[in-house]
């Protein structure tokens, strides 16, 4: 009796090790590792203590993310919006460019950049590079007061979503270049509100895993922003180019695709 039991249990543990991680908490990368991908969910499902612990951990991560994205209010009051935004960008290991500069400024040593930046007080910030950073909706709050932002790079930011895009309308008159390449949470719904950006000349939308019907979206984007060059999607890029790896958004993307194909859905009684 004991032997089959042990076997069964062993089998279960093996399956834990084998099966690929499907879901992970906040991270949007599919490969979240064995611990996060399988073992924690397993324990989470079975023990209230683990559940409380993990929930607390998730909250802590969220809180930390929010903390890092908070406004530099004091700097803003003392040195103005542009410097505050620059400090924020540099804190997130990004880059900035003020008017008149040709080179990106990327000093990540806090002491040094604080000293250097003071020279730029009063000079408008023209470009900000947040690529690969943890900037979120809250973080964009430190940018929305910029009056002369022309270039914004948000590529590969895991926390940039449609809500963030809806905040970009403030740059309607100035922004000329925007990159959203590789943002896992951006969908076609958020791209719709980029029509506020009337001066946009170049929009990079390559590698957006959550956008269905890419070819169609490119056409619609070009219709919406006639003055703008949309790069990163080919016209013939559509359903066939499914992401090969299983990713967190896959279920939803498929749903979307379905919805786009068989227009609208269960709400409508046949």
């Amino acid at each position: 009796m004991a032997a089959p039991m042990a076997l069964r249990r062993g089998g279960r543990l093996l399956s834990l090790l084998r099966a690929c991680p499907r879901y992970s908490s906040r991270s949007s990368r599919p490969a979240a590792g064995l611990l996060k991908g399988r073992i924690l969910p397993y324990l989470y499902d079975r023990f209230y203590d683990m559940e409380a612990f993990i929930d607390f951990g998730t909250k802590l991560t969220g809180w930390n993310l929010e903390r890092k994205n908070t406004h530099y209010l004091r700097i803003q009051e003392k040195y103005g919006d542009d410097l505050a935004a620059a400090v924020f960008a540099l804190m997130l290991k990004g880059g900035v460019r003020f008017r008149g500069q040709t080179e990106w400024y990327r000093e990540h040593n806090r002491k040094r950049f604080c000293v250097d930046l003071v020279n730029y007080q009063g000079v408008p910030l023209e470009a900000a590079d947040f690529s690969g950073s943890i900037i979120s909706y809250e973080g964009l709050g430190s940018l929305v007061n910029l009056k002369a932002l022309k270039h914004l790079d948000l590529s590969r930011c895991p926390n940039v979503d449609d809500w963030c895009l809806s905040r970009l309308h403030v740059f309607g008159e100035t922004l000329e270049e925007l990159s959203l390449a590789g943002c896992p949470r951006v969908t076609e719904r958020g791209l719709g509100c980029l029509h506020h950006l009337e001066s946009l000349r170049r929009l990079d939308v390559s590698d957006l895993p959550s956008v269905p019907c890419k070819g169609l979206v490119r056409i619609l984007l070009e219709e919406m922003l006639p003055q703008c060059e949309v790069v990163g999607i080919r016209y013939d890029e559509d359903e066939l180019t499914l992401p090969i790896e299983p990713d967190v958004h896959q279920g939803q993307t498929e749903l979307l695709r379905e919805a786009a194909r068989v227009q609208k859905t269960r709400e409508i009684p046949a």
Binding site: R9, R46, F47, D55
Partner: protein, 509 residues
Amino acid sequence: MRGGVMFGRLRPLVAAAGRPLANPVEPRRQFRTGESRQRDRFRGYEPRGSWDFGKEMAEFRKKLKEALPGSDWNPLGISKDLPPEWADIVIVGGGIIGWSVAFWLKMKESQRNAIRVVVVERDLQYTKASTVLSVGGIRQQFSLPENIKMSQFSAEFLRSINDYLGFFNEPPIDVQFNPMGYLFLASEDGAAVLEENVKIQRAEAAEVSLLSPAQLQKKFPWLNTDGVALASYGLENEGWFDPWTLLNALRRKAMSMGVFQSLGEVMSFHCSSTEMVTEDGELINFPRIMVANVQMPDSIEYSPIKCSIVVNAAGAWSGRVAEMAGIGTGPPGSLEEIRLPVEPKKRYVYVWNCPEGPGLETPMLIDTTGAYFRREGLGGNYLGSISPTEDEEPDIQDLEVDHEFFQEKVWPKLAHRVPAFESLKVKSSWAGYYDYNTFDQNPVIGAHPLVGNLYFASGFSGHGLQHSLAVGKCITELILEGEYKTIDLGRFSFDRLIKGEQILEKNII
């Protein structure tokens, strides 16, 4: 005590060994979210009580049936979602409002399972519930500060929905929010009111811009600006989302936090009453609901739930629920005579296809005539409608759609506004009930002055979905703490019906 509970909770590991291996792809969580934690206390003591017992019962039933003469009579009916015998708070109606209240009650309780909450819903398919038949819009362009604040709260909630409603080991919830904004058009006559409203909205820090016809034409070249004097356009926190996803997410979270769901219809209340004499000798009767009688589907039996507080979240049917507590049935001139003026009003929604129609930038457009439409997906589909005028109000017996109504009332208006819509093909349609407050088209929120343990949250007249999340929180504060904290909704109380003071919202669609 704590330690004991902890070890008790660790015991499922031993019990788990006996369970069959579930499919690894299937999130296991689902097994548990359905039942409340309260019952889980017994988990440690029986080896996985639910399935063992269930199997035994099924066998037993089968045997019993075999022993009886052939008929389809079932000796022991299977009653799912039977209500518990008692509860602290009974919520009538499991639409978005009901579940939102349940969720917030659980969020705010002082310790786990401090209060027992039951949501009674008569139709878990939600075939008639307004929530799933709505258009899913959310906007800040209201004329009452309370309404604006509630929308802002809901938008913020939707933005961080995964922090509130997500589960650690499940894919993130995606309510499919389309941040496309509402575009209100005003004619010469309406321009002043529109401007006034925008002033109020901006005072509440809503991002709304005013557009002249020329600006409008430039932004939306597909629009015909004939007869438009001014437009207001919401820039943030406005758009539409999927009500189904939100309802399900709220429900699952609330149930995982220990809310009971019970299938059945609340048919009557059992009240006790206290009589009091006013200074001038008038006798006033204060009823108090003691028991809610729930009727199971396909059954004539009632099952009573003893309760201390009832929340009336029955949407379009909440007028009837109020009547069960004697509200609106008293002699003329008395306080009991004043009824809850919430009635179902049928509203149609049509979906059409128009390949040449407006593109990705299409907002939710509200025409000067009150007709509205929005984009639906990427394939050139749109949906929209108009509210019938008072003398056109359709019969509310069923949810049949009147297609003439589209041809005669909706299409001409939309085709005038968007010339591309002159050629379109209607693909489908549906109808739903507005929970319409005939008194002033605003919700009634808060306790009844006489029946002190009956709380209302209904009468939203077409904007209940977007306000549900805020209303849930506010009502919870009122119930648990005795006052509003987040948003003061005091003006929406039942008292205004008694005083006859209307609070009018100008932006009703």
